[in-house]
Protein backbone atom coordinates (compact mmCIF):
# COMPACT_ATOMS: atom_id res chain seq x y z
CA UNK A 1 0.00 0.00 0.00
CA UNK A 2 1.45 3.37 -0.91
CA UNK A 3 1.57 6.07 1.69
CA UNK A 4 0.22 8.54 -0.83
CA UNK A 5 -3.04 6.76 -1.46
CA UNK A 6 -3.53 5.88 2.18
CA UNK A 7 -3.30 9.43 3.44
CA UNK A 8 -4.83 10.96 0.34
CA UNK A 9 -2.10 13.54 0.41
CA UNK A 10 1.10 13.73 -1.58
CA UNK A 11 4.22 13.55 0.57
CA UNK A 12 5.03 16.81 2.23
CA UNK A 13 2.03 18.78 1.00
CA UNK A 14 -0.74 18.94 3.55
CA UNK A 15 -4.15 19.42 1.98
CA UNK A 16 -5.47 22.94 1.97
CA UNK A 17 -8.92 23.99 0.81
CA UNK A 18 -8.70 24.75 -2.90
CA UNK A 19 -11.17 27.59 -2.62
CA UNK A 20 -13.32 29.43 -0.16
CA UNK A 21 -16.26 27.09 -0.63
CA UNK A 22 -14.52 24.10 0.96
CA UNK A 23 -14.67 25.31 4.48
CA UNK A 24 -13.58 23.54 7.55
CA UNK A 25 -16.34 23.20 10.00
CA UNK A 26 -17.17 21.58 13.26
CA UNK A 27 -20.72 20.58 13.57
CA UNK A 28 -22.37 20.32 16.95
CA UNK A 29 -24.36 17.13 16.93
CA UNK A 30 -27.00 19.05 18.83
CA UNK A 31 -27.99 20.21 15.35
CA UNK A 32 -28.87 17.57 12.80
CA UNK A 33 -27.83 14.51 14.75
CA UNK A 34 -29.29 15.74 17.97
CA UNK A 35 -32.61 16.37 16.29
CA UNK A 36 -32.69 12.87 14.93
CA UNK A 37 -31.47 11.09 18.02
CA UNK A 38 -32.37 13.07 21.10
CA UNK A 39 -34.84 11.18 23.24
CA UNK A 40 -37.70 13.63 23.86
CA UNK A 41 -37.51 13.44 27.63
CA UNK A 42 -33.81 14.14 28.03
CA UNK A 43 -33.22 17.39 29.88
CA UNK A 44 -31.47 20.18 28.00
CA UNK A 45 -28.48 20.19 30.35
CA UNK A 46 -28.03 16.47 29.96
CA UNK A 47 -28.26 16.81 26.19
CA UNK A 48 -25.49 19.36 26.15
CA UNK A 49 -23.16 16.98 27.92
CA UNK A 50 -24.46 13.80 26.33
CA UNK A 51 -24.02 14.77 22.69
CA UNK A 52 -20.65 15.53 21.34
CA UNK A 53 -19.04 16.69 18.14
CA UNK A 54 -18.98 15.37 14.63
CA UNK A 55 -16.00 16.38 12.52
CA UNK A 56 -16.06 16.22 8.72
CA UNK A 57 -13.56 17.26 6.09
CA UNK A 58 -10.65 19.54 6.86
CA UNK A 59 -10.97 21.05 10.32
CA UNK A 60 -8.75 22.73 12.82
CA UNK A 61 -7.12 20.24 15.22
CA UNK A 62 -5.07 21.14 18.27
CA UNK A 63 -2.32 18.81 19.40
CA UNK A 64 -0.08 19.30 22.43
CA UNK A 65 3.31 18.03 21.33
CA UNK A 66 6.45 18.21 23.45
CA UNK A 67 4.75 20.75 25.68
CA UNK A 68 3.58 23.08 22.90
CA UNK A 69 0.05 23.30 21.50
CA UNK A 70 0.15 23.14 17.71
CA UNK A 71 -2.77 23.67 15.35
CA UNK A 72 -3.17 21.86 12.05
CA UNK A 73 -5.86 21.83 9.36
CA UNK A 74 -6.55 18.18 8.61
CA UNK A 75 -9.20 15.58 7.84
CA UNK A 76 -10.24 13.13 10.58
CA UNK A 77 -8.56 10.28 8.66
CA UNK A 78 -5.10 11.77 9.24
CA UNK A 79 -3.19 9.54 11.64
CA UNK A 80 -1.15 10.99 14.48
CA UNK A 81 1.96 9.80 12.61
CA UNK A 82 1.03 11.69 9.43
CA UNK A 83 0.08 14.76 11.46
CA UNK A 84 3.55 14.78 13.03
CA UNK A 85 5.48 14.16 9.83
CA UNK A 86 3.44 15.77 7.07
CA UNK A 87 1.69 18.63 8.86
CA UNK A 88 4.14 19.61 11.60
CA UNK A 89 7.47 18.67 10.04
CA UNK A 90 8.36 16.57 13.08
CA UNK A 91 10.02 13.92 10.93
CA UNK A 92 11.99 12.26 13.72
CA UNK A 93 9.08 9.87 14.16
CA UNK A 94 9.41 7.37 11.30
CA UNK A 95 6.89 5.61 9.08
CA UNK A 96 7.91 2.00 8.57
CA UNK A 97 5.05 -0.41 7.95
CA UNK A 98 2.18 2.00 8.75
CA UNK A 99 0.29 -1.01 10.21
CA UNK A 100 1.54 -1.29 13.80
CA UNK A 101 3.98 -4.07 13.03
CA UNK A 102 7.40 -2.38 13.17
CA UNK A 103 7.36 0.22 15.97
CA UNK A 104 9.26 2.90 14.00
CA UNK A 105 6.41 5.34 14.73
CA UNK A 106 6.49 4.88 18.53
CA UNK A 107 5.65 8.02 20.53
CA UNK A 108 4.38 8.59 24.07
CA UNK A 109 0.79 9.70 24.67
CA UNK A 110 -0.01 10.66 28.24
CA UNK A 111 3.18 8.88 29.26
CA UNK A 112 2.45 5.57 27.52
CA UNK A 113 4.21 4.28 24.41
CA UNK A 114 1.94 3.74 21.42
CA UNK A 115 2.15 3.24 17.65
CA UNK A 116 1.26 6.64 16.18
CA UNK A 117 0.32 5.05 12.83
CA UNK A 118 -2.75 3.34 14.31
CA UNK A 119 -4.38 6.29 16.03
CA UNK A 120 -6.06 9.34 14.52
CA UNK A 121 -4.77 12.84 15.19
CA UNK A 122 -8.33 13.95 15.96
CA UNK A 123 -8.50 11.38 18.79
CA UNK A 124 -5.37 12.73 20.46
CA UNK A 125 -6.46 16.29 21.09
CA UNK A 126 -6.06 17.30 24.72
CA UNK A 127 -3.40 14.66 25.35
CA UNK A 128 0.30 15.07 26.12
CA UNK A 129 2.22 13.79 23.11
CA UNK A 130 5.98 13.29 23.34
CA UNK A 131 8.09 12.56 20.26
CA UNK A 132 11.80 11.89 19.83
CA UNK A 133 12.26 15.64 19.30
CA UNK A 134 10.99 16.22 22.84
CA UNK A 135 13.46 13.96 24.70
CA UNK A 136 16.59 16.10 24.85
CA UNK A 137 16.81 19.09 27.19
CA UNK A 138 18.26 21.68 24.85
CA UNK A 139 21.71 20.40 23.86
CA UNK A 140 21.70 17.77 26.62
CA UNK A 141 20.70 14.39 25.21
CA UNK A 142 18.36 12.09 27.12
CA UNK A 143 20.28 9.26 28.87
CA UNK A 144 18.71 6.77 26.44
CA UNK A 145 20.02 8.75 23.47
CA UNK A 146 23.47 8.84 25.08
CA UNK A 147 23.33 5.10 25.70
CA UNK A 148 22.41 4.36 22.07
CA UNK A 149 25.44 6.39 20.95
CA UNK A 150 27.74 4.71 23.47
CA UNK A 151 26.61 1.17 22.63
CA UNK A 152 26.23 1.75 18.89
CA UNK A 153 22.55 0.78 19.10
CA UNK A 154 21.89 1.29 15.40
CA UNK A 155 23.25 0.92 11.91
CA UNK A 156 21.04 2.66 9.33
CA UNK A 157 19.18 4.54 12.08
CA UNK A 158 15.66 4.33 10.67
CA UNK A 159 14.19 2.38 13.57
CA UNK A 160 16.21 4.32 16.16
CA UNK A 161 13.73 7.04 17.18
CA UNK A 162 11.10 4.35 17.78
CA UNK A 163 13.62 2.15 19.63
CA UNK A 164 14.63 5.05 21.87
CA UNK A 165 11.03 6.07 22.63
CA UNK A 166 10.18 2.45 23.38
CA UNK A 167 13.35 2.04 25.46
CA UNK A 168 12.52 5.05 27.62
CA UNK A 169 9.04 3.64 28.27
CA UNK A 170 10.38 0.13 28.84
CA UNK A 171 12.66 1.37 31.62
CA UNK A 172 9.94 3.54 33.15
CA UNK A 173 7.52 0.58 33.17
CA UNK A 174 10.09 -1.54 35.01
CA UNK A 175 10.34 -4.05 32.16
CA UNK A 176 14.11 -3.89 31.68
CA UNK A 177 15.29 -5.79 34.75
CA UNK A 178 17.05 -8.52 32.72
CA UNK A 179 18.25 -9.02 29.16
CA UNK A 180 15.44 -11.51 28.49
CA UNK A 181 12.77 -9.24 29.87
CA UNK A 182 14.16 -6.34 27.87
CA UNK A 183 14.10 -8.37 24.65
CA UNK A 184 10.48 -9.39 25.26
CA UNK A 185 9.29 -5.87 26.13
CA UNK A 186 11.22 -4.29 23.23
CA UNK A 187 9.83 -6.84 20.74
CA UNK A 188 7.41 -4.30 19.26
CA UNK A 189 10.36 -2.50 17.67
CA UNK A 190 11.97 -4.23 14.71
CA UNK A 191 15.51 -3.51 13.50
CA UNK A 192 16.28 -4.90 10.04
CA UNK A 193 20.00 -4.11 10.48
CA UNK A 194 20.03 -6.45 13.46
CA UNK A 195 21.45 -4.09 16.07
CA UNK A 196 19.47 -5.90 18.76
CA UNK A 197 22.38 -6.87 21.08
CA UNK A 198 23.52 -3.25 21.22
CA UNK A 199 19.98 -1.96 21.68
CA UNK A 200 19.51 -4.33 24.63
CA UNK A 201 22.84 -3.15 26.09
CA UNK A 202 21.76 0.49 25.81
CA UNK A 203 18.36 -0.08 27.42
CA UNK A 204 19.86 -2.22 30.18
CA UNK A 205 22.45 0.41 30.99
CA UNK A 206 19.80 3.10 31.43
CA UNK A 207 17.66 0.71 33.48
CA UNK A 208 20.66 0.04 35.74
CA UNK A 209 21.05 3.74 36.40
CA UNK A 210 17.35 4.37 36.91
Amino acid sequence: MSTVSSSGTPEGTPPHPEDGTRRSFMKQAGGLLGLALAPPLVAQAERLTAYSKTVEGVTSLQLKINGTVRTIQAEPRVTLLDALREYLDLTGTKKGCDHGQCGACTVHVDGRRINSCLTLAVMNQGKEITTIEGLAQGEALHPMQEAFLKHDGFQCGYCTPGQIMSGVACVKEGHASSDDQTREWMSGNLCRCGAYPNIVAAVREVAGKA
Binding site: M1, G8, L37, Y51, S52, P76, I114, S187, G188
Partner: protein, 327 residues
Protein backbone atom coordinates in the same frame (compact mmCIF):
# COMPACT_ATOMS: atom_id res chain seq x y z
CA UNK B 1 -7.99 4.78 3.79
CA UNK B 2 -11.33 6.22 2.71
CA UNK B 3 -12.44 9.57 4.06
CA UNK B 4 -14.93 9.52 6.92
CA UNK B 5 -16.63 11.72 9.45
CA UNK B 6 -15.65 11.35 13.08
CA UNK B 7 -18.01 11.59 16.03
CA UNK B 8 -16.98 11.57 19.63
CA UNK B 9 -19.90 9.81 21.26
CA UNK B 10 -21.26 11.50 24.37
CA UNK B 11 -23.12 8.46 25.65
CA UNK B 12 -23.57 4.78 24.94
CA UNK B 13 -27.12 5.45 23.83
CA UNK B 14 -25.94 8.01 21.30
CA UNK B 15 -23.16 5.72 20.08
CA UNK B 16 -25.38 2.68 19.59
CA UNK B 17 -28.06 4.90 18.05
CA UNK B 18 -25.61 6.23 15.49
CA UNK B 19 -24.68 2.74 14.37
CA UNK B 20 -28.25 1.52 14.39
CA UNK B 21 -29.12 4.22 11.86
CA UNK B 22 -25.93 3.81 9.86
CA UNK B 23 -24.91 0.16 9.70
CA UNK B 24 -21.86 1.11 7.63
CA UNK B 25 -20.48 3.24 10.45
CA UNK B 26 -18.04 1.71 12.93
CA UNK B 27 -16.96 2.22 16.50
CA UNK B 28 -13.37 3.11 17.22
CA UNK B 29 -11.65 2.53 20.56
CA UNK B 30 -7.91 1.74 20.38
CA UNK B 31 -8.00 1.77 16.59
CA UNK B 32 -5.32 -0.89 16.24
CA UNK B 33 -7.55 -3.35 14.36
CA UNK B 34 -9.93 -0.95 12.66
CA UNK B 35 -7.39 1.47 11.16
CA UNK B 36 -5.22 -1.45 10.03
CA UNK B 37 -8.21 -2.96 8.19
CA UNK B 38 -9.21 0.40 6.71
CA UNK B 39 -5.67 1.19 5.52
CA UNK B 40 -5.56 -2.20 3.81
CA UNK B 41 -8.87 -1.36 2.09
CA UNK B 42 -10.52 -4.37 3.74
CA UNK B 43 -13.12 -2.24 5.47
CA UNK B 44 -14.68 1.08 4.47
CA UNK B 45 -16.71 3.16 6.90
CA UNK B 46 -18.29 6.56 6.14
CA UNK B 47 -18.36 7.41 9.84
CA UNK B 48 -16.31 6.45 12.88
CA UNK B 49 -17.85 6.81 16.32
CA UNK B 50 -15.23 7.24 19.03
CA UNK B 51 -16.33 5.37 22.15
CA UNK B 52 -13.27 6.13 24.28
CA UNK B 53 -15.41 8.43 26.40
CA UNK B 54 -17.74 5.56 27.36
CA UNK B 55 -17.69 4.61 31.04
CA UNK B 56 -17.09 0.90 30.29
CA UNK B 57 -14.12 0.78 32.63
CA UNK B 58 -12.98 -1.00 35.73
CA UNK B 59 -11.48 -4.35 36.70
CA UNK B 60 -13.33 -5.59 39.75
CA UNK B 61 -14.45 -8.68 41.59
CA UNK B 62 -18.27 -8.97 41.61
CA UNK B 63 -20.60 -11.68 42.85
CA UNK B 64 -20.57 -13.13 39.31
CA UNK B 65 -16.79 -13.10 39.08
CA UNK B 66 -14.21 -10.75 37.64
CA UNK B 67 -15.83 -7.95 35.62
CA UNK B 68 -13.64 -6.16 33.08
CA UNK B 69 -14.94 -3.05 31.32
CA UNK B 70 -14.69 -3.27 27.53
CA UNK B 71 -12.76 0.01 27.33
CA UNK B 72 -9.95 -1.21 29.56
CA UNK B 73 -6.63 -1.60 27.71
CA UNK B 74 -4.89 -4.95 27.22
CA UNK B 75 -1.79 -3.79 29.12
CA UNK B 76 -3.76 -2.62 32.16
CA UNK B 77 -5.76 -5.84 32.40
CA UNK B 78 -2.74 -8.07 31.73
CA UNK B 79 -0.76 -6.52 34.58
CA UNK B 80 -3.66 -6.14 37.01
CA UNK B 81 -2.89 -7.83 40.34
CA UNK B 82 -6.32 -9.44 40.67
CA UNK B 83 -6.11 -10.86 37.15
CA UNK B 84 -2.54 -12.08 37.65
CA UNK B 85 -3.39 -13.87 40.89
CA UNK B 86 -6.91 -15.16 40.30
CA UNK B 87 -7.04 -15.61 36.51
CA UNK B 88 -3.45 -16.22 35.31
CA UNK B 89 -4.58 -17.58 31.91
CA UNK B 90 -6.27 -14.24 31.16
CA UNK B 91 -3.18 -12.25 32.14
CA UNK B 92 -0.84 -14.51 30.15
CA UNK B 93 -3.05 -14.45 27.06
CA UNK B 94 -2.91 -10.65 27.09
CA UNK B 95 0.81 -10.25 27.79
CA UNK B 96 1.82 -12.86 25.18
CA UNK B 97 -0.18 -10.98 22.54
CA UNK B 98 0.88 -8.17 20.18
CA UNK B 99 3.50 -5.67 21.40
CA UNK B 100 3.69 -3.37 24.44
CA UNK B 101 2.67 -0.39 22.26
CA UNK B 102 -0.36 -2.19 20.81
CA UNK B 103 -1.36 -3.49 24.24
CA UNK B 104 -1.32 0.10 25.55
CA UNK B 105 -3.77 1.05 22.80
CA UNK B 106 -6.05 -1.92 22.17
CA UNK B 107 -9.28 -2.20 24.16
CA UNK B 108 -10.66 -5.46 25.51
CA UNK B 109 -13.81 -5.07 23.39
CA UNK B 110 -11.76 -4.43 20.26
CA UNK B 111 -9.48 -7.39 20.96
CA UNK B 112 -12.51 -9.67 21.04
CA UNK B 113 -13.54 -8.31 17.63
CA UNK B 114 -10.24 -8.56 15.78
CA UNK B 115 -10.41 -10.24 12.38
CA UNK B 116 -8.56 -13.03 10.65
CA UNK B 117 -4.96 -12.81 9.43
CA UNK B 118 -5.70 -15.19 6.52
CA UNK B 119 -3.57 -13.86 3.66
CA UNK B 120 -6.40 -14.23 1.15
CA UNK B 121 -8.78 -12.21 3.31
CA UNK B 122 -6.15 -9.51 3.73
CA UNK B 123 -5.38 -9.13 0.01
CA UNK B 124 -8.31 -7.66 -1.95
CA UNK B 125 -6.76 -9.02 -5.18
CA UNK B 126 -7.94 -12.50 -4.17
CA UNK B 127 -11.46 -13.91 -3.87
CA UNK B 128 -12.57 -14.51 -0.28
CA UNK B 129 -15.97 -15.68 0.93
CA UNK B 130 -15.54 -13.73 4.14
CA UNK B 131 -14.77 -10.46 2.36
CA UNK B 132 -16.90 -10.92 -0.77
CA UNK B 133 -19.54 -13.59 -0.04
CA UNK B 134 -19.78 -16.18 -2.81
CA UNK B 135 -16.46 -15.25 -4.44
CA UNK B 136 -14.69 -18.44 -3.38
CA UNK B 137 -11.90 -19.57 -1.04
CA UNK B 138 -8.41 -19.95 -2.53
CA UNK B 139 -7.12 -21.02 0.88
CA UNK B 140 -8.76 -24.46 0.61
CA UNK B 141 -6.08 -25.61 -1.83
CA UNK B 142 -3.65 -22.73 -1.43
CA UNK B 143 -1.36 -21.32 1.25
CA UNK B 144 -3.13 -22.61 4.32
CA UNK B 145 -0.23 -23.37 6.65
CA UNK B 146 -1.56 -21.03 9.34
CA UNK B 147 -5.27 -21.72 8.91
CA UNK B 148 -7.75 -23.81 10.86
CA UNK B 149 -8.14 -27.57 11.15
CA UNK B 150 -11.23 -27.51 13.41
CA UNK B 151 -14.66 -26.03 12.65
CA UNK B 152 -13.88 -25.47 8.98
CA UNK B 153 -16.33 -25.50 6.07
CA UNK B 154 -16.10 -25.61 2.28
CA UNK B 155 -16.52 -21.82 2.35
CA UNK B 156 -13.82 -20.83 4.82
CA UNK B 157 -10.96 -22.32 6.85
CA UNK B 158 -9.68 -19.07 8.39
CA UNK B 159 -8.85 -18.81 12.06
CA UNK B 160 -11.43 -16.03 12.20
CA UNK B 161 -10.24 -14.83 15.61
CA UNK B 162 -6.43 -14.78 15.42
CA UNK B 163 -5.86 -13.47 18.94
CA UNK B 164 -5.27 -14.93 22.38
CA UNK B 165 -7.58 -13.35 24.94
CA UNK B 166 -10.80 -14.93 23.67
CA UNK B 167 -9.22 -18.39 23.85
CA UNK B 168 -8.64 -17.89 27.58
CA UNK B 169 -12.10 -16.34 27.95
CA UNK B 170 -13.71 -19.30 26.20
CA UNK B 171 -11.89 -21.74 28.46
CA UNK B 172 -12.91 -19.97 31.67
CA UNK B 173 -16.64 -19.65 30.87
CA UNK B 174 -16.51 -15.86 30.37
CA UNK B 175 -19.73 -14.03 29.54
CA UNK B 176 -19.98 -10.86 27.44
CA UNK B 177 -22.38 -8.07 28.33
CA UNK B 178 -23.75 -6.47 25.15
CA UNK B 179 -25.81 -3.28 25.00
CA UNK B 180 -28.09 -2.18 22.18
CA UNK B 181 -29.39 1.24 21.14
CA UNK B 182 -32.32 1.01 23.56
CA UNK B 183 -29.92 0.69 26.45
CA UNK B 184 -31.00 -2.92 26.81
CA UNK B 185 -28.31 -5.37 27.88
CA UNK B 186 -27.94 -9.08 27.20
CA UNK B 187 -25.42 -11.68 28.31
CA UNK B 188 -23.71 -13.96 25.79
CA UNK B 189 -21.12 -16.60 26.72
CA UNK B 190 -17.90 -16.18 24.72
CA UNK B 191 -18.33 -19.76 23.49
CA UNK B 192 -21.62 -18.71 21.85
CA UNK B 193 -20.47 -15.26 20.70
CA UNK B 194 -18.40 -16.44 17.73
CA UNK B 195 -20.06 -18.27 14.84
CA UNK B 196 -18.70 -21.16 12.79
CA UNK B 197 -18.16 -20.17 9.14
CA UNK B 198 -20.60 -22.66 7.59
CA UNK B 199 -21.94 -21.14 4.38
CA UNK B 200 -21.82 -17.58 5.79
CA UNK B 201 -18.22 -16.87 6.86
CA UNK B 202 -18.90 -13.12 6.56
CA UNK B 203 -21.07 -13.42 9.69
CA UNK B 204 -18.48 -13.84 12.43
CA UNK B 205 -20.38 -13.20 15.66
CA UNK B 206 -23.83 -12.60 17.12
CA UNK B 207 -23.52 -8.80 17.52
CA UNK B 208 -26.56 -6.96 16.19
CA UNK B 209 -26.07 -3.72 14.21
CA UNK B 210 -25.01 -1.01 16.63
CA UNK B 211 -24.67 -3.36 19.57
CA UNK B 212 -21.67 -2.70 21.82
CA UNK B 213 -19.56 -4.96 24.02
CA UNK B 214 -19.59 -3.19 27.38
CA UNK B 215 -17.99 -5.76 29.68
CA UNK B 216 -16.73 -9.30 30.07
CA UNK B 217 -17.25 -11.31 33.25
CA UNK B 218 -15.23 -14.37 34.23
CA UNK B 219 -16.58 -16.60 37.02
CA UNK B 220 -14.27 -17.20 39.98
CA UNK B 221 -13.27 -20.85 40.32
CA UNK B 222 -10.52 -23.12 41.58
CA UNK B 223 -9.68 -24.04 37.97
CA UNK B 224 -9.45 -20.32 37.07
CA UNK B 225 -6.86 -19.73 39.79
CA UNK B 226 -4.92 -22.75 38.51
CA UNK B 227 -4.96 -21.80 34.84
CA UNK B 228 -2.43 -20.95 32.15
CA UNK B 229 -2.13 -19.86 28.53
CA UNK B 230 0.56 -21.54 26.47
CA UNK B 231 1.37 -20.15 23.02
CA UNK B 232 3.52 -21.52 20.21
CA UNK B 233 4.65 -19.12 17.49
CA UNK B 234 6.97 -18.90 14.49
CA UNK B 235 9.20 -16.59 16.54
CA UNK B 236 9.66 -16.13 20.26
CA UNK B 237 7.46 -13.07 20.64
CA UNK B 238 5.26 -10.56 18.83
CA UNK B 239 3.55 -13.09 16.56
CA UNK B 240 0.18 -14.78 16.22
CA UNK B 241 -0.22 -18.30 17.54
CA UNK B 242 0.37 -21.30 15.34
CA UNK B 243 -1.28 -23.16 18.20
CA UNK B 244 -2.15 -22.18 21.74
CA UNK B 245 -3.96 -23.66 24.70
CA UNK B 246 -5.81 -22.09 27.61
CA UNK B 247 -6.35 -24.60 30.40
CA UNK B 248 -7.58 -24.63 33.97
CA UNK B 249 -7.48 -27.57 36.36
CA UNK B 250 -8.81 -28.28 39.81
CA UNK B 251 -6.72 -31.18 41.09
CA UNK B 252 -7.38 -32.74 44.49
CA UNK B 253 -5.34 -35.65 45.80
CA UNK B 254 -3.88 -36.23 42.34
CA UNK B 255 -7.31 -36.53 40.72
CA UNK B 256 -8.72 -33.95 38.32
CA UNK B 257 -12.00 -32.58 39.77
CA UNK B 258 -12.65 -29.93 37.14
CA UNK B 259 -11.03 -29.09 33.81
CA UNK B 260 -11.32 -26.30 31.27
CA UNK B 261 -9.68 -26.50 27.85
CA UNK B 262 -9.71 -24.19 24.84
CA UNK B 263 -7.40 -24.07 21.85
CA UNK B 264 -6.25 -21.12 19.72
CA UNK B 265 -4.72 -20.98 16.26
CA UNK B 266 -6.34 -24.22 15.14
CA UNK B 267 -10.09 -23.53 15.07
CA UNK B 268 -12.29 -21.22 13.02
CA UNK B 269 -13.23 -19.71 16.37
CA UNK B 270 -11.74 -19.88 19.89
CA UNK B 271 -12.03 -23.63 20.31
CA UNK B 272 -13.46 -24.86 23.61
CA UNK B 273 -13.03 -28.61 23.84
CA UNK B 274 -15.64 -30.46 25.92
CA UNK B 275 -14.12 -33.68 24.52
CA UNK B 276 -10.78 -32.95 26.18
CA UNK B 277 -12.45 -31.88 29.42
CA UNK B 278 -14.43 -35.12 29.54
CA UNK B 279 -11.20 -37.07 29.09
CA UNK B 280 -9.63 -35.22 32.03
CA UNK B 281 -12.29 -35.12 34.75
CA UNK B 282 -12.05 -37.95 37.28
CA UNK B 283 -8.70 -39.07 35.91
CA UNK B 284 -5.24 -38.89 37.53
CA UNK B 285 -3.31 -35.73 36.63
CA UNK B 286 -0.65 -37.52 34.61
CA UNK B 287 0.92 -37.10 31.19
CA UNK B 288 -0.94 -40.17 29.94
CA UNK B 289 -4.25 -38.54 30.85
CA UNK B 290 -3.18 -35.30 29.17
CA UNK B 291 -2.15 -37.16 26.00
CA UNK B 292 -5.55 -38.84 25.86
CA UNK B 293 -7.29 -35.49 26.32
CA UNK B 294 -5.18 -33.91 23.58
CA UNK B 295 -6.04 -36.74 21.20
CA UNK B 296 -9.73 -36.26 22.01
CA UNK B 297 -9.49 -32.50 21.36
CA UNK B 298 -8.11 -32.97 17.85
CA UNK B 299 -10.12 -36.05 16.89
CA UNK B 300 -12.38 -34.10 14.53
CA UNK B 301 -9.53 -32.23 12.83
CA UNK B 302 -9.67 -31.79 9.07
CA UNK B 303 -6.13 -30.90 8.07
CA UNK B 304 -5.20 -29.62 4.62
CA UNK B 305 -2.03 -29.85 2.61
CA UNK B 306 0.03 -27.25 4.49
CA UNK B 307 -1.54 -27.20 7.95
CA UNK B 308 -1.51 -30.91 8.81
CA UNK B 309 1.38 -30.20 11.22
CA UNK B 310 -1.06 -28.32 13.43
CA UNK B 311 -2.81 -31.50 14.53
CA UNK B 312 0.27 -32.78 16.34
CA UNK B 313 1.46 -29.29 17.32
CA UNK B 314 -1.87 -28.49 18.98
CA UNK B 315 -1.83 -31.76 20.91
CA UNK B 316 1.69 -31.16 22.18
CA UNK B 317 0.78 -27.56 23.03
CA UNK B 318 -2.19 -28.73 25.06
CA UNK B 319 -0.14 -31.37 26.88
CA UNK B 320 2.52 -28.77 27.76
CA UNK B 321 -0.13 -26.41 29.14
CA UNK B 322 -1.73 -29.16 31.25
CA UNK B 323 1.66 -30.31 32.57
CA UNK B 324 2.36 -26.75 33.64
CA UNK B 325 -0.81 -26.33 35.72
CA UNK B 326 -0.66 -29.90 37.06
CA UNK B 327 2.95 -29.12 38.12
Amino acid sequence: MNNFSYTQAGSAKEATGLLKDKPQAAYIAGGTTLLDLMKANLEEHPQLVDINTMPFKGIEQTKDGLRIGAMERMSDVGENKLVLEQYPAISESLLLAASPQLRNMASIGGNILQRTRCGYFRDPAFPCNKRVPGSGCPALEGDNHNLAVLGTSDSCIATAYPGDLSVALAALDAVLTLENQKGKQRQVPVTEFYLLPGKTPQKENVLEPGELIVAVTIPAAAHARRSTYFKVRERASYAYALASAAVGLDVQGGTIRAARVALGGVGTKPWRSPEAEKALVGQPATEATFRAAAAAALRGAQPRKENAFKVELAQNTLVQALMKVAG
